[in-house]
């Protein structure tokens, strides 16, 4: 450590060393303890004294049944009379007591589940193969232990197999004959046999499954399918750093989403598939196309302009989800994010950690919540299994256009009768009334002047998605593995564009010894995308052209793509950026490939049964290549000479960490789980770009075919070192306390201030275990937590000093230098601070058929790193400083219910609702009232800004100027005046979001329906603005004949009577005197998001054949919009996934998909 450091910093670092060395000291003590096994002499004496005072086994077990609430089974009734040791101390857990009680008695026990134990005689169980057979013959049911009941003599032996909903065998299921003491449990292949009479009721039960009762009939073979118990009571959840906990011990909100939710009506981007699934998880409605980026926000935007998306972790490996480029004010393609690299067929489940308390162990990057993805493993399998899945869907563009078709192409009412006029008016529907007149198009051809309503149908094609996954899995006592292979082919609605993706997912665990476990996970993906679509501004944007051509313009006129000079055949010659969509689709080129390997190696060693160490290395990295060709013949660039650009991104994150942990129970009342660890995170990013133009030999698109190709290279390297620890204390299994702390040191920051501490505290109280509850309340838990975190850490490297660069080209042989940034460097940057308080309540009612989960949170962000947009006259565009303060408060509600649960028919429903209220509290100086996030292509003063005192992401712009009575005021020319100042027009971020899921199971059929909704956001529709200006929007029908008289008053207060030529009027509002208010729409909606109907072949048909399970599913996604307020566009039409939500302009049109899924198990 350097002397220059502050005392505070020195202390912090000292503490970190201390914690770990004391940890290491622990380890040494344990070694001594484990090695010595030196029990104290007094203990030995006690043991001897007790040996004489034996008791009957049945007595002891009855006593344990009463005090511990556990049940016992044993094979022969005579065992009950065997003499065993009396209970020495009941303060221990059941296993300990049983070990002690059965010591030296010739008996042993086997744990079936937390509440059930089997007593066996040692001799009877020596052969391994006998274990199952023995288990099948226990004939004292647990319930009968309390009293003496008659043993009826069974007549028949019923045999069968218990399987899960997925068709796999379920071992360890308790099977009892109702009203008797007879019971057994299923074997490792799910099979069982039990003696029972006709008319007896067999009860199949186990934790995690819905208990099922079956009446014994004539059939001696019974196969039973148990449905998963969806309740969270005893569910084990994955928490930060991959630590598994019983849900009851968790003091904050977390939600598990089962992998099956992603495999049926699937989305290529897993982020988008989360929509409507989890209360408080808002999936932005982004029109970025099928391989574009997603936007997932948990509990509101916590950063004014930094990263607001959660941390993604796959099998313990932090997973980069940054997008490689989004559309902006000047257009451009969306180059996708990381989430389309995950195959839904590989997902076991997704754990959503919403609050800061849940994620504080992730330190500086936990502040936005975390999404932990667990991939499937072979853990449940014995032997070798194969699973095959094919999903095939078709997508069609939803044509949201509702244009006027009364007046056609032209301007000032003039019919296009020459090619010149047609060329000047391609984007203009201010022509005469459409009446089938003879008109001339832009290439001079005569045509009948009629409405062309099918331009969408004629241009867009049906898209296809076909994903095939094959998984090979296996396991035995030593370990298990799963290899998943997948192939995805996707073609979009815009012609000549597709995605191919091949993936391998590997997940394996092996127990090298009973104490030493090794786990290896790896996910490799190779992705190729051809021609990602561009949005927003027009260049290279096929969507824009298709939207903008006049309503009598037949898009198929553009099919030749080029004119006789091989130049792009434009719809008109007045706007070289308004392109031919066929030319964009077939002649422009953008290709990306991504090779990505994400993997981790974890080694865990259990030093003692309560002490373990773990070491882990993880790496997530990819190489991304992008090739862009602007073709020869394009009119707007390089004089038709074309250009090429090649980009490569090579980035990776490496984490090395070690953990030392203990799991111990004290006096049978207090359980302790604790661990401490260290982590070093290292990030490297390389970016190279080269290219140039024009092509020396036209139409030969190679980087070698341009004479000069400037080459640029950027590199960043940063490291975060961390020390962390966590302590869980449980009292009598109903009160739990968790405290965590993590300290991060950042290389990116000024060395004087680079150390930050993130603590958390959470408590959970199962009040239903302590207080007397009415019988209809099954479960009740209160939870509360407080935590601190960050979400951007220190942003990127090298932001603290000014650097210079040289251009990749020269002028007359002279190098050209420039300042390397438009961002003013800042020496004093520090991480964003996020503090969150949360309380919650879980309750289960009516025999667990109705559940409610409530959460309330209050999350405050301060010291937010903000690239404040500064006047460009400063020489820079942004000044990056820690100034922001904002707050998110909200309520999350999840209601689950099983209205019907029967043998053949089950109906599960789930409704989630979240409300988030955000408020920008400060932007530093009181003079600074707003922070601009983005501006659209069109609209004076229109921006998405964070405005002090208002919710996140305000749309700003001019309103109509109004008098005291709210009348619009018109000038002498009859045009509306606009407000004196730029006004706030509402937030582009939804306030209320949620979803409503219904699953119906009838015999082998399952019908799932998801309806989702979002309310309380606005959208500024650039598309509608353009349509106003072009006279395509229906509103512009007003005033076509005789002019438009605006409703309102003149400046001197009289009623406005001045008529304005409609074309002038609507154009003024759109462009020359832009009134943003006119283009603000309510973006609220309700959608029938997905629906699937599946049928599984009954086991009776499959028998015990080669095929173990077949499920066929019909799937549909985005089937209907039940409510919306946006003309001509889908309400979810944001063209980027950035923080600036609320801007629409020529984004990817909404699509509907439908198809089928076939799942085979061998």
């Amino acid at each position: 450590m350097r002397k220059a450091k502050t005392i505070r910093h020195a202390l912090a670092c000292f503490v970190c060393v201390l914690v770990i060395y004391s940890g290491a000291g622990y380890a040494q003590n344990d070694i001594a303890y484990a090695g010595g096994r030196n029990k104290s002499i007094t203990n030995l004496n006690k043991e001897e004294q007790k040996t004489d005072q034996k008791e009957k086994l049945l007595t002891v077990l009855k006593q344990l049944n009463e005090t511990k609430g556990v049940y016992f089974l044993f094979s022969e009734q005579s065992l009950g009379n065997k003499l065993v040791n009396p209970v020495e101390t009941s303060e221990q857990n059941v296993e300990k007591i049983l070990t002690q009680v059965l010591k030296n008695t010739g008996l042993k026990f086997k744990k079936i589940n937390d509440k059930t134990f089997v007593i066996l005689s040692k001799e009877s169980n020596n052969s391994k193969s006998g274990a199952t057979a023995q288990a099948a013959n226990f004939n004292i049911a647990a319930e009968q232990l309390k009293g003496v009941s008659a043993i009826t003599v069974p007549v028949d032996i019923i045999t069968g197999k218990v399987i899960g909903a997925d068709g796999g065998p379920l071992p360890g299921i308790t099977i009892t004959v109702k009203g008797t003491r007879r019971g057994t449990s299923s074997g490792s292949d799910g099979s069982f046999s039990i003696q029972a009479n006709k008319g007896n009721i067999l009860v199949f039960s186990s934790i995690g499954y819905v208990t099922q009762e079956i009446v014994v009939g004539d059939e001696l073979s019974i196969n039973v399918t148990l449905q998963d118990e969806k309740r969270q009571l005893n569910e084990v959840v994955v928490t930060a750093m991959g630590v598994k906990k019983q849900n009851r011990a968790v003091g904050y909100s977390t939600t598990t989403v089962d992998g099956s939710k992603f495999t049926q009506s699937r989305e290529t981007n897993i982020g988008n598939a989360l929509t409507g699934q989890v209360a408080g998880v808002q999936v932005g409605g982004v029109a970025t196309g099928p391989y574009g980026s997603s936007r997932v926000i948990i509990r509101g935007n916590a950063s004014l302009n930094g990263n607001n998306q959660p941390l993604y972790v796959i099998d313990g490996v932090p997973y980069d989800n940054s997008n490689q480029g989004a559309s902006g004010q000047w257009g451009g393609a969306d180059y996708g994010d990381g989430l389309s690299n995950i195959n839904p067929d590989d997902i076991e489940n997704i754990q959503v950690l919403k609050g800061v308390a849940a994620t504080a162990l992730y330190g500086y990057r936990g502040g936005n919540g975390a999404i932990l993805i667990t991939t499937k493993s072979g853990a449940r399998s014995r032997g070798i299994g194969v699973e095959l899945n094919n999903n095939m869907t078709f997508t069609n563009v939803i044509d949201e256009r509702d244009y006027q078709y009364t007046y056609g192409q032209g301007t000032q009412g003039v019919l296009p009768t020459t090619a010149d006029i047609a060329n000047a008016t391609a984007e203009s529907a201010w022509g005469p009334a459409i009446a089938g007149q003879d008109a001339v198009n832009m290439v001079g051809d005569h045509y009948k002047y009629t409405a062309q309503k099918d331009n969408f149908k004629n241009f867009y094609q049906t898209g296809l998605t076909n994903q095939t996954s094959v998984a090979l899995l296996g396991g035995n006592d030593k370990g298990h593995f799963r290899i998943g292979l997948s192939n995805l082919y996707l073609s979009t609605n815009i012609p000549n564009s597709n995605m191919k993706q091949q993936g391998i997912n590997f997940n394996s665990t092996y127990n090298i010894t009973s104490k030493f476990q090794v786990n290896l996970t790896a996910n490799y993906i190779f992705e190729q995308v051809k021609n990602r679509a561009s949005f927003s501004d027009a260049p290279g944007n096929a969507v824009a052209s298709t939207l903008y051509v006049a309503n009598t313009f037949d898009i198929r006129w553009l099919k030749p793509r080029v004119d006789s000079n091989r130049n792009e055949l434009l719809p008109g010659n007045q706007d070289i950026y308004f392109e031919n969509p066929y030319f964009v689709a077939y002649d422009f080129e953008n290709k990306t490939t991504r090779n990505r390997l994400t993997g981790g190696l974890t080694m865990k060693y259990n030093i003692l049964d309560w002490l373990y160490v773990q070491a882990q290395v993880t790496r997530d990295g990819f190489v991304y290549n992008q090739r862009n060709v602007t073709p020869n013949g394009v009119q707007y660039s390089n004089a038709g000479g074309g250009s090429i650009q090649l980009t490569t991104v090579d980035q990776h994150e490496l984490n090395v960490n070690g953990i030392l942990g203990i799991t111990k129970k004290f006096a049978d009342k207090i359980s302790v789980n604790a661990f401490g660890g260290v982590n070093s995170q290292d990030n490297v990013w390389n970016w190279t770009q080269g290219g140039g133009g024009p092509f020396v030999i036209p139409y030969f698109y190679s980087i070698n075919n341009v004479s000069s190709k400037p080459y640029n290279f950027n590199y960043t390297h940063s490291r975060v070192n961390s020390v962390y620890g966590s302590v869980d204390i449980g009292y009598k299994d109903f009160l739990f306390l968790t405290a965590t702390a993590r300290n991060d040191w950042f290389s990116q920051l000024n060395p004087k201030t680079n150390s930050y501490l993130y603590p958390s505290l959470a408590a959970s109280f199962i009040f239903s275990d302590v207080l007397r509850m009415p019988s209809w309340i099954n479960y009740g838990k209160l939870r509360a937590s407080y935590a601190e975190s960050s979400n951007t850490g220190a942003a990127t490297a090298y932001q603290t000093v000014l650097t210079y660069n040289l251009q990749g080209y020269q002028l007359n042989g002279q190098p050209l230098g420039y300042v390397n940034t438009q961002n003013i460097p800042n020496q004093n940057l520090k991480p964003v601070s996020i503090k969150e308080f949360e309380v919650g309540l879980n309750m289960e009612f009516l025999n667990n058929r109705l559940g409610i989960d409530l959460a309330y949170y209050d999350k405050k962000t301060s010291d937010d790193i903000v690239p404040v947009t500064v006047s460009s006259t400063s020489g820079y565009n942004n000044n990056t400083i820690n100034v922001g303060r904002l707050r998110n408060k909200g309520l999350e509600v999840l209601i689950t219910a099983t209205p019907i649960r029967g043998k053949d028919f089950t109906w599960n429903m789930s409704f989630n609702f979240a409300q988030n209220t955000s408020k920008i509290e400060s932007l530093g100086s009181p003079d600074v009232k707003s922070l601009q996030l983005n501006v659209p292509r069109f609209g004076d003063g229109v921006s998405i800004s964070n405005v002090v005192g208002l919710p996140y992401g305000q749309i700003t712009g001019y309103k109509y100027k109004r008098d005291a009575n709210n009348n619009i005021i018109y000038d002498t020319a009859g045009l509306p005046l606009r407000s004196d100042n730029i006004e706030n027009l509402g937030s582009g971020v939804y306030k209320q979001t949620g979803g409503f899921t219904n699953d119906f199971h009838y015999k082998n059929f399952t019908l799932s329906i998801l309806i989702d909704y979002k309310f309380g956001a606005k959208i500024y529709s650039g598309t509608n603005l353009v349509l106003y200006s072009e006279g395509l929007q229906k509103t512009t029908l007003q005033g076509r004949e005789g002019g438009y008289v605006g409703k309102g008053v003149t400046e001197d207060g009289k009623t406005n009577t001045k008529a304005v030529v409609a074309e002038t009027y609507w154009n003024a509002i759109a462009f020359s005197d832009n009134v943003a208010e006119e283009f603000i729409y309510d973006a609220s909606f309700i959608k029938l998001r997905s629906m699937s109907l599946s049928y599984s072949l009954p086991k009776s048909i499959l028998k015990d054949g080669f095929i173990k399970g077949v499920t066929f599913t019909l799937v549909g996604r985005n089937l209907a919009t039940l409510l919306k307020h946006t003309p001509n566009i889908d309400p979810e039409s944001n063209y980027t996934n950035t923080n600036a939500q609320g801007l629409d302009l020529a984004g990817y049109p909404a699509v509907r998909s439908y198809g089928f899924n076939l799942n085979l198990k061998f």
């Binding site: 590199y715 230098g817 460009s872 400063s874």
Partner: protein
């Protein structure tokens, strides 16, 4: 046991390296220059290049301010395309602010970096003073377009952490610029070592030429104040001439693009638009062609050409003087009342109107003229006419027109690529022209400044500024075009960027308050006294 030991060692090892060891070296960018190893001459080269008008290979400032607005307002060119609003006086905020948007955070940031980082280094005194002089030229152009602008606090976002620069009054800016020129020119030392050399792509770092440039620029600034402060104007004009202005075309401040790299900002910005990205939009204006024809100006075939297909950028067309035809300003292609086909004398096809000659001004490698002997001589002629300096107005006029006609020799000698350049105007033709159009003392101001208008073809910023201060030539504004924002008058300034009220609101509002008609194109800048 082994594992525990290994892990303990691993943890101890990790920590013994310290929680933030090597962080400073990790956080040093290995791929970029720092103030410690930067040579600021390369920023100066960039400042010169960007000022020539093509900051981003899209040439937006040139396209929008110089051509779309400037050239058509001043009726050098004419366009029927809707977005070419300069001769119809329609409004586009982004086009108005393009020059500002592309220079403050680029060329101006660079020149400020240069000035601030060389001012304390006595070995770079000449470099420092040259940078100050060129900085004045850059700000003169900016303030002439917009009026009051950030000047004294501009470009200092990092150096002085000024993020909302105040707007200086144009009057104050002019006063300071004149003092700067005077001071810097006085301190240039011909004997000092040259630290710029070829990195100064205008003068090779020659202090003698930069001194002449400083005084010629001083004369331009002085004459700009003729309407608003004739006293100061006279005083500074005298100081400029006394200091020593340009004396021949060899002194001209010219930036060559002859080694241009295709697809980069090193191409001549005007040419990139006129024979590159927007080849079919513009024609020579009827006003301009008619004037040239009326005086039998030998420059006409150098300015114009008639191409069968203007969209074909390789079509050099026919430049014979007889067939050159100017397109009237104020028309469109919309098929309505203003359609070009309704214009008097419409030749039946727009291709028959002259486009800018693609072998002179619209060559990618055509040089950029920053400040010329021709302009300086004409300004001297005017100063003589006004009685401010001594000399022979006719001689200055003759020298100015001659120099302007010799520009085509200068172009021919500074281009390298195909096609073979047109050879310049023969001396005899110049003599003939001057004999037919001699200096006329009775109409001197009109004649001198109309020649200035011709001499500044495609340096439209300068042509427009000089027209605004003198009113010559007497242009007829286009009246009554639908949607025009100036009540049919030629605009007097460009509007500020729409980002300024948001990012620099207080200063912006103060500046707007000083305008006679608000932040509009028909407000007047300080020296353009209505």
């Amino acid at each position: 046991m082994k594992y525990k030991l290994l892990l303990s060692v691993a943890i101890a090892g990790l920590l013994s390296t310290g929680c933030d060891k090597n962080f400073e070296s990790i956080n040093t960018d290995p791929e970029h220059l720092t103030p410690a190893n930067m040579n600021y001459i390369y920023l100066f080269t960039s400042a010169e290049l960007v000022t020539s008008g093509n900051s981003d290979a899209n040439s937006y400032e040139d396209w929008r301010n110089n051509l779309i607005y400037g050239s058509t307002m001043i009726q050098h060119l004419s366009s029927t395309f809707g977005y070419w609003g300069g001769d119809k006086y329609t409004y586009n905020s982004g086009y108005n602010s393009a020059y500002w948007d592309n220079n403050y955070n680029n060329s101006i940031k660079n020149i400020v970096e240069v000035v601030e980082n060389t001012k304390d280094d006595p070995t770079k005194a000449n470099f420092y003073n040259i940078a100050r002089i060129f900085k004045v030229f850059m700000f003169q152009r900016m303030t002439d377009m917009y009026g009051d602008i950030p000047y004294s606090e501009a470009g200092l976002g990092y150096i002085k952490q000024i993020t909302s620069p105040k707007y200086d009054k144009q009057q104050d800016i002019y006063a300071d610029m004149l003092n700067e020129l005077n001071d810097a020119a006085g301190k240039l030392d011909p004997a000092a070592p040259n630290s710029l050399n070829a990195s100064d792509v205008v003068y090779g770092g020659d202090p003698v030429l930069w001194k002449k440039f400083a005084y010629s620029e001083m004369l331009r600034l002085a004459m700009r104040m003729v309407k608003v402060d004739p006293g100061q104007a006279q005083q500074w004009a005298q100081a400029a001439v006394a200091g020593g202005v340009f004396t021949s075309t060899d002194d001209d401040a010219i930036l060559s693009h002859q080694d241009f790299t295709s697809g980069t900002p090193t191409i001549n910005g005007n040419a990139w638009v006129l024979a590159g990205v927007d080849p079919n939009a513009a024609r020579l204006s009827k006003t301009f062609v008619d004037y040239l024809k009326g005086t039998n100006d030998p420059r006409l075939p150098y300015f114009g050409t008639v191409a069968a297909n203007p969209s074909d950028v390789e079509d050099l067309g026919d430049n014979s003087a007889a067939i050159q035809l100017g397109q009237p300003n104020g028309y469109d292609n919309a098929g309505g009342a203003h359609d070009i086909s309704t214009a008097p004398g419409y030749p039946g096809s727009q291709a028959k109107y002259s486009i800018v000659n693609r072998n002179t001004f619209a060559r990618y490698d055509a040089p950029t003229f920053f400040l010329t002997y021709a302009e300086t001589s004409l300004l001297e002629a005017e100063a003589v006419v006004r009685g401010w300096i001594s000399g022979d107005a006719a001689a200055f006029y003759t020298a100015g027109v001659t120099a302007a006609m010799q520009e085509f020799d200068q172009i021919a000698s500074r281009v390298k690529s195909n096609p073979t350049p047109l050879s310049g105007i023969p001396a005899g033709a110049i003599t003939t022209y001057l004999a037919a159009n001699p200096y006329d003392p009775a109409d001197a101001l009109n004649q001198i400044n109309t020649q200035y208008w011709v001499a500044t073809f495609l340096d439209e910023y300068e042509a427009w500024a000089n027209w605004r201060r003198t009113g010559f030539p007497d242009l007829i504004p286009i009246a009554g075009y639908p949607g025009n924002v100036t009540n049919g008058q030629i605009p007097r300034r460009f509007t500020y960027p729409i980002s300024e009220p948001i990012t620099n609101g207080v200063n912006y509002q103060a500046a707007v308050g000083n305008l006679d008609n608000g932040d509009k194109m028909n407000s007047h800048v300080w020296w353009d006294k209505p």
